[in-house]
Symmetry: C2
Subunit: 111 residues, 2 copies
């Protein structure tokens, strides 16, 4: 149930999501345990809106998941945790993913 070969587009999204110092740091921080936006922003010393954007990017790539938890007293806190992803990066896996790049419906010469 793991290591399902990602489509080229999916692989690209993951790579693009991880290709940033801040986002790497965020993943590393979440790997040690869940946290919420404001707390994480304080720990990593970055603006909340900025961190918010990065978290959304990571979530869009499927690397982290966010859950808005509303406590019984009504206050809302959005918890983020890392998804136990695992992907192997080699010339072969890249070559296997590339043909499934782009829409994949038809058209091969798109430029």
């Amino acid at each position: 149930m793991d290591a399902a070969p990602p489509t080229g587009t999916q692989l690209l999204a993951v790579l693009a999501a991880l290709a940033s110092p801040h986002r790497l740091r965020i993943v590393a921080a979440l790997a040690e345990g869940r946290s919420y936006v404001s707390e994480l922003a304080r720990r990593l010393q970055m603006n909340r809106p900025l961190l918010y954007m990065h978290l959304q990017r990571l979530e869009a790539a499927g690397l982290v998941v966010g859950t808005l938890e509303t406590a019984p007293d009504g206050s809302s806190v959005k918890w983020f945790e890392v998804v136990p992803f695992a992907l192997s990066l080699t010339p072969a896996t890249v070559a296997a993913a590339v043909p499934t790049l782009e829409a994949g419906g038809s058209g091969k010469d798109e430029k």
Copy 2:
């Protein structure tokens, strides 16, 4: 079998190098066999200067190697081939690499 743990900076370079549709396509094309700049540009239908830049990026990240071969008749052809890299991408490997992230060689301090 060189599973040497990459430094954060190194990992970031590889990820950034791979986070591009064109560059993924280039790696895939080279995975099927070596080629040289002009020929590859023709096959992938892109400008030579552009492909040249992408190849340099990939080479800087250590994913491909280029060798300028001067034939006995004097004509020069730069052959490129893919390096058999292999890196495992998981929350743990990211967390392990992040502490060795550098802010840019020297002097530059994080804000």
